[in-house]
């Protein structure tokens, strides 16, 4: 097509001009001028006044809040300080009426590893922690993803059911579980494996927080990935997982910490063989009436040692734990 043919010529502008002569009658009441300058001055004056008093108010509120926080911190941290200090006490081994040791030393730590079954307990718990952390994370993330993204019959019912089940204390099933584990030779010295089975079996029920997190990831990311050609599994590990680092870390930490704090189940499963205990059960055993005069400070040392792996893990993972990475995905 040549350029010539594309030219459109208007012979005459055909758009009709409005009649030039038209009448306007001025408004009956004149529009009053707002005394602008005056109003502006008034506003500025009032702003200045409220600004000053607001500052003082803030200062007072902040002071009160900080005082309350300091008191709360002190109350909260006192037991920890007590345990750390008493773990270094060398002059006596039983309960004492004071916290600052008179003679400092590592005797209690040496005794902890040499005279008690602590190395067994520690290893038991560490193995449990690692395995439970891995298995539980896999379970929780899968359950949470399914409940967040898929719509299937009975989904609501299942969620409510798990919520209700989660409200029953775990030790309600203690006797039954012990009988089963005993039959399968997973108690006492083998309690480790029984406990792992118990901890992980129900771990999918802890889906709630992870599901809440997945729910905040826009579904249009899933849809975009589906259009782009990704399968459900690819969406899960290529899109959802990288975006869920905080919740993965959280789940790992929770899974790892669980076995360290469980007392009821661990004591019961290994009640015939103290070497099968986890740290919580073992350390508590040191505090029984027949032991505590001899081992109270050792117990304190154990408490400090137990805190270490969790602290280290937390420090390593906390940078992922804090910040999410979902910024910029969809218009917020």
């Amino acid at each position: 097509m040549s350029e010539q043919e594309n030219i459109v010529e208007f012979e005459e502008i055909s758009i009709e001009a409005p009649e030039r002569a038209f009448d306007i009658e001025a408004p009956s009441a004149p529009v009053s001028d707002t005394p602008l300058a005056e109003a502006r001055e008034r506003t500025q004056a009032s702003v200045k006044k409220t600004h000053m008093s607001q500052k003082t108010k803030n200062a007072i509120t902040n002071t009160i809040i900080h005082i309350v926080l300091v008191v709360m911190c002190f109350v909260w941290i006192l037991p920890f300080i007590g345990i750390v200090l008493e773990s270094f006490r060398c002059e006596s081994t039983g309960l004492a009426g004071y916290i600052f040791p008179q003679k400092w030393g590592f005797t209690n730590y040496v005794r902890l590893f040499k005279e008690t079954d602590f190395p067994h307990w520690f290893l038991n718990t560490l193995i449990m922690g690692v395995i439970v952390a891995i298995v539980q994370t896999v379970f929780v993330l899968m359950v949470a993803y399914a409940l967040s993204r898929h719509r299937f019959k009975g989904r609501k019912f299942l969620m409510n059911l798990m919520l209700v089940f989660g409200m029953f204390p775990g030790f309600l099933t203690l006797i039954l579980l012990y009988t089963w584990m005993h039959d399968w030779n997973m108690t006492d010295l083998n309690a480790l494996w029984g406990l792992i089975l118990i901890y992980t079996a129900s771990s999918g029920m802890g889906y709630y927080i992870a599901k809440g997190f997945f729910d905040t990831i826009s579904h249009s990311l899933d849809e975009a990935a589906r259009v782009d050609g990704a399968t459900r599994l690819q969406i899960f590990y290529k899109i959802i997982m990288p975006l869920s680092k905080p919740i993965i870390i959280y789940t790992i930490l929770m899974g790892f910490m669980g076995p360290w704090g469980d007392f009821v189940m661990a004591t019961f499963m290994a009640h015939n063989a103290h070497a099968g205990y986890n740290v919580a059960a073992g350390l508590q055993w040191l505090l029984t009436d027949s032991m505590k005069n001899e081992y109270y400070t050792t117990f304190c040392a154990g408490g400090v040692v137990v805190a270490l792996p969790i602290t280290i893990l937390f420090l390593l993972l906390q940078k992922y734990y804090v910040a999410g990475v979902t910024g910029g995905a969809v218009k917020g």
Partner: protein
């Protein structure tokens, strides 16, 4: 590069919430189709059914002659741009655009005649991503992550991600509605240019009639799950098939009046707001050609088809200005007629003196008249345009049988009116 054909497509949510009723449309190859309508009209649902993100309750959708009802989105050879961009936040712009290419496997036949599916080479991916980035002007941001980009840049990446796939159909779900007004205008113009470069079939969803008018080859106007009209921008603007389309297309929206159309010796006049205005020009001829009798009508007059006039004009309607909106090149006057109807008048300021413009203030009394040759006439009962639809005779049986949809809709409308 492909046609899209929707036949009796229906979407039903739950048991009886119908989002889309009996949608029939044929989209030609390389056509730019815009679905437009108020929120909840089913336009996005229809688009998502084409994409495969929503199940099709009834009917069939064909892409390039192939029924795709049961195909996954990835197998439909479509690309989609989402309203909220939906960029992968943990990936760079490059990886966002390359995501689909990395998953793609194309068939290759080896010496033994066996077909193997192989992934695209990195060079090929690089080439396609950088080419698209070049066109969109985002080459400098390829290594950034979405959160480091502005809204407009993110939108470009989203378009780029769809572009690199060379799909047969390009679906866009309100892609500009998250941008600010200025950027939206700019991107709209860029989309028009981009469209020429991509040269494929587009289905574009928007609630903004300006976008619909400027982008679409044809516009599909929807309401409550029903198609109201399908036509070119000019068609829907100049000859709206019903009152809804008339009011929806055009900004500010069309003024609506109850009026009487009077025929006398083949010439028509309309009496409205106490004035008697001749219907001349094209519209008068069309009325004559269709033989429309004297009757009650709903009169539609666009704000730009109202002129200021002198008090001596026999067709003048005296009005009082309530609000004046100065838009720069034009002025929107909200005026009150003697009967208490609010009328919006669009006045091109360039034709007036500064003094005349300054006197158009709230409270001032002006005289307006309508231009007969660009009026629209609708039936008060069916709300159809009298020039495109025959009014059903005073026979309710035929009216019911004629078409189920408008009848059902009418009931709703009458309640709201």
């Amino acid at each position: 590069m492909a046609t899209v054909k929707l036949t009796n497509v229906k979407k039903i949510y739950g048991k009886n919430t119908v989002a889309v009723h009996d949608f029939n449309l044929e989209i030609a190859d390389k056509e730019f189709i815009v679905f437009v309508g108020p929120s909840g009209c089913g336009k996005s649902t229809t688009l998502r059914m084409i994409a495969g993100l929503e199940e099709i309750s009834e009917g069939t959708i064909e892409i390039d002659g192939r029924i795709v009802n049961d195909l996954q989105p990835k197998d439909r050879d479509i690309a989609m741009v989402f309203q909220n961009y939906a960029l992968y936040p943990h990936l760079t712009v490059f990886e966002n655009m390359a995501f689909a290419l990395r998953l793609k496997k194309s068939p290759v036949t080896d010496e033994n005649g066996k077909t193997k599916y192989v992934k695209l080479s990195n060079d090929e991916i690089y080439k396609r991503v950088t080419e698209a980035a070049e066109i969109l002007g985002i080459s400098d941001y390829l290594l950034r992550r979405p959160r480091e980009l502005s809204g407009g840049q993110r939108q470009r990446v989203a378009i780029g991600r769809a572009m690199v796939r060379d799909s047969q159909v390009f679906l866009m779900d309100e892609p500009l509605s998250n941008l600010d007004a200025k950027l939206r205008n700019q991107m709209r113009a860029e989309l028009i240019l981009l469209r020429k470069k991509i040269d494929t079939t587009f289905v574009y969803v928007t609630h903004d009639q300006t976008e619909a008018m400027t982008l679409g080859d044809r516009i599909v106007i929807m309401k409550d799950g029903f198609i109201q009209q399908v036509g070119t921008p000019t068609e829907v603007f100049e000859m709206p098939e019903n009152l809804f389309v008339a009011e929806f297309i055009g900004a500010p929206k069309m003024n609506i009046f109850h009026a009487n159309l009077n025929e006398e010796n083949g010439s028509y006049r309309v009496s409205v707001c106490g004035a008697d205005i001749p219907v001349d020009g094209e519209k008068g001829e069309m009325l004559r050609a269709r033989g429309v009798p004297s009757r009650e009508v709903i009169l539609g007059v666009r704000p730009e088809h109202i002129t200021l006039t002198s008090r001596n004009n026999p067709a003048a309607i005296p009005c009082v200005i309530q609000v004046n909106e100065m838009m720069g090149s034009e002025m929107h006057l909200h005026v009150l007629s003697p009967e208490g109807e609010e009328i919006i008048v669009r006045v091109p300021t360039v034709q007036f003196t500064a003094q005349q413009v300054a006197s158009l203030v709230a409270g001032a009394k002006i005289f307006i008249t309508f231009r007969g040759k660009v009026m629209h006439f609708f039936s008060p009962s069916s709300e159809f345009n009298l020039l495109t639809h025959d009014e059903p005779e005073e026979n309710e049986a035929t009216e019911d049988a004629a078409s189920e949809e408008p009848a059902a809709e009418l009931e709703n409308k009458e309640e709201t009116l």
